[in-house]
């Protein structure tokens, strides 16, 4: 909910978050670069440039793996949500680490010839028609370009400028990029190694990302089953007795959007479940000071209007509600974002009597 765009809106949680992440990354690199070589009993050491490239490449992979595990972990257990909160900073950090990896490679393997090192990166190996010896660098280049684009557009300014759906779609490129890194390593260094520790850690990481996403998707489907195809105009949400003050029920609507129905001060209101910031799940948020607060980054919306409090200007769609007996029902046709809707009063909190 930024009114003016400054590079980073810091707060103590973000400082702490970045500090922890930086500590982890710094320790990884330090141990790989300075502690490990002493433990290797090589006749002659690996060239420092190759050793550095490997340290930063492996670190970037580990960082990307952690980043991609946070999402499904937070969906499976909300206690992980604080890790999601400032994940963008970790992403930007990853880009710098990946760039360092690529620079060491380009400045070492692709330098010292008569050709430009960047051109050499593209023409030195052109065996695109074969699996063994495939120019695996190409996968790394693709991943790096995607990571740079995502980092460059990570700021809220771009979200606003591109609109959240477009921004979100661009950021889904992280999945092809991750697959590309997996291909980069599989077609490259994994085929060479005598020592298979890297292979094992690499497979464990990639499996964790894939597995967690699958489990989270299945859990979500169980929680919010799709409505029957023959749905009438109004859609049942739940029985009024299931609603709890200050909390929401989330429901998948026929066209694929989700609605979040809140019970607030004994009255029902419904807004879109998708936060205008980064599509965070508003229905998993809470009402704080009369405002629905997004669990991801804390954007807030008035539950009756779908509008952020002044001076902020974010809006989400609202929905019309009614009570049919004790059943809460929603009209699946969303109102334009920020349309006020009169809340539906509930007589006696948690019980079924209400006027329409």
């Amino acid at each position: 909910m930024s009114v003016k765009y400054i590079p980073v809106q810091w707060n103590s949680n973000k400082y702490l978050y970045d500090l922890v992440m930086l500590c982890g990354v710094a320790l990884f690199l330090y141990v790989f670069l300075y502690a490990a070589p002493g433990l290797l009993s090589h006749e002659r050491p690996i060239n420092p440039q190759v050793h550095n490239a490997r340290a930063f490449g492996a670190c970037a992979f580990v960082m990307l793996t952690v980043i991609l595990c946070i999402g499904p972990l937070a969906r499976l257990d909300t206690r992980f949500l604080p890790l999601l909160y400032n994940r963008r900073h970790f992403g930007v950090m990853t880009v710098f680490v990946a760039l360092t990896h690529a620079s060491y490679i380009v400045d070492w393997y692709f330098a010292f010839s008569m050709s430009d090192k960047y051109e050499a990166l593209l023409f030195a190996n052109t065996s695109y028609g074969q699996l063994q010896g495939f120019p695996f660098e190409a996968f790394g280049i693709f991943a790096l370009i995607v990571l740079i684009i995502l980092a460059a557009t990570s700021h809220d300014f771009w979200m606003k400028f591109l609109t959240p759906p477009v921004w979100k779609r661009i950021h889904y490129l992280i999945y092809p990029a991750y697959l590309s890194v997996v291909a980069h390593v599989s077609f490259g260094v994994l085929q060479d190694q005598q020592n298979h520790v890297f292979t094992a850690i690499f497979l464990a990481g990639a499996t964790a990302v894939g597995g967690l996403h699958l489990v989270a998707a299945l859990a979500e489907r169980r929680r919010a089953p799709a409505p029957a195809a023959d749905t009438a105009e109004w859609i049942d949400i739940c029985d009024l007795s299931q609603m709890r003050e200050g909390f929401a029920k989330i429901r998948l609507l026929p066209e694929g959007d989700r609605v979040a129905v809140f019970l607030h001060e004994g009255r029902l209101s419904a807004i879109s479940n998708a936060c205008a910031h980064q599509n965070g799940p508003l229905g998993e948020g809470r009402i704080i000071d009369c405002l629905v607060t997004c669990p991801w980054h804390g954007f807030q919306y008035d539950v009756r209007t779908g509008r952020s409090p002044a001076p902020f200007t974010e809006k989400v769609p609202t929905y019309a509600l009614r009570l049919s007996g004790s059943t809460v029902q929603v009209d699946p046709r969303a109102n334009p974002p920020g349309t006020p809707v009169e809340p539906v009063p509930v007589s006696g909190s948690g019980t079924a009597e209400a006027g329409v």
């Binding site: 949680n13 790989f32 670190c59």
Partner: protein, 253 residues
């Protein structure tokens, strides 16, 4: 519905008390966890082998007969502290550049070569100093040099560039190094075949195209992989030269 009993984290507000212990545990797993991964991955690096630039020898200056195989080599007739008479040195320039232009006018003649030695087992190369200082005509007539044909062989192993493998890069072979090796070969650094079964006691052979041409373009697709190939082997001093028949290149498993 979000669980009302679970603490709710809002980024810009203090962390709820009930979440603090959980997050602390996450940090305690995360930070040393990354350090542990750094250690596991850092100590899982394969030995790059014994090849190296022998800067410890100091600059070596030797005399011998220049031959183009078509890659330039020097058949040493007057050695130095670390280079014996009878050795055959492959020659390369700085970085990924060849010394073809300097060697061609001296073909079959006696020349003085000066530079730094790279070696890995019986693989020996000299990286020449720049310009005239590196390679120049020497006084005297060149003695007759023989090339002893050893017949047709079928070998299994890897095509590498002779410089990185000899120790310019550690490691200087394998798939991860393929593009780098190709770039060396495009720069006419002498290619080398690393055989799994030594030929007459040699684990490395200088490799050329058929009939003593440069390595043909199609061979680049096979660099850094485990292949089998057939070709004519010939001995030049203590160096074996393999003239491959590119049509016989195959992946070995």
């Amino acid at each position: 519905m979000s669980d009302p009993d679970k603490p709710f984290f809002v980024g810009y507000l203090p962390v709820p008390r009930a979440l603090r212990a959980f997050l602390l545990v996450v940090c305690v797993i995360f930070v040393p966890g990354l350090a542990g991964l750094g250690l596991a991955l850092g100590t899982a690096q394969d030995d790059p082998g014994e090849g190296a630039f022998r800067f410890d020898y100091g600059r070596q200056t030797v005399t011998g007969v220049v031959e183009l195989t078509p890659y330039p080599v020097l058949r040493v007739t007057q050695g130095s502290e670390h280079v014996a008479v009878g050795q055959t040195l492959m020659l390369a320039g700085q970085g990924k550049t060849s010394v073809d232009a300097r060697a061609a006018p001296l073909e079959g003649q006696l020349a003085t070569a000066s530079g730094v030695i790279l070696d890995r087992g019986d693989l020996e190369m000299m990286q020449l100093r720049g310009g005239q200082n590196g390679l120049s005509a020497a006084e005297g007539a060149a003695p007759e040099m023989t090339t002893e044909p050893l017949g047709r062989w079928r070998l299994a192993g890897e095509i590498c560039d002779g410089k990185c493998l000899a120790g310019a890069m550690r490691p200087g072979r394998g798939i991860a190094h393929k593009a780098c090796a190709n770039l060396c070969l495009l720069g006419d650094i002498p290619p080398v075949f690393v055989t799994t079964q030594p030929v007459e006691g040699h684990a490395f052979l200088l490799i050329t195209g058929p009939g003593g041409t440069k390595l043909p373009a199609e061979a680049y697709h096979w660099v850094a992989q485990f292949v089998t190939v057939e070709g004519e082997v010939a001995r030049r001093g203590d160096l074996l030269v393999l003239a491959i028949d590119p049509a016989t290149l195959e992946r070995a498993d």
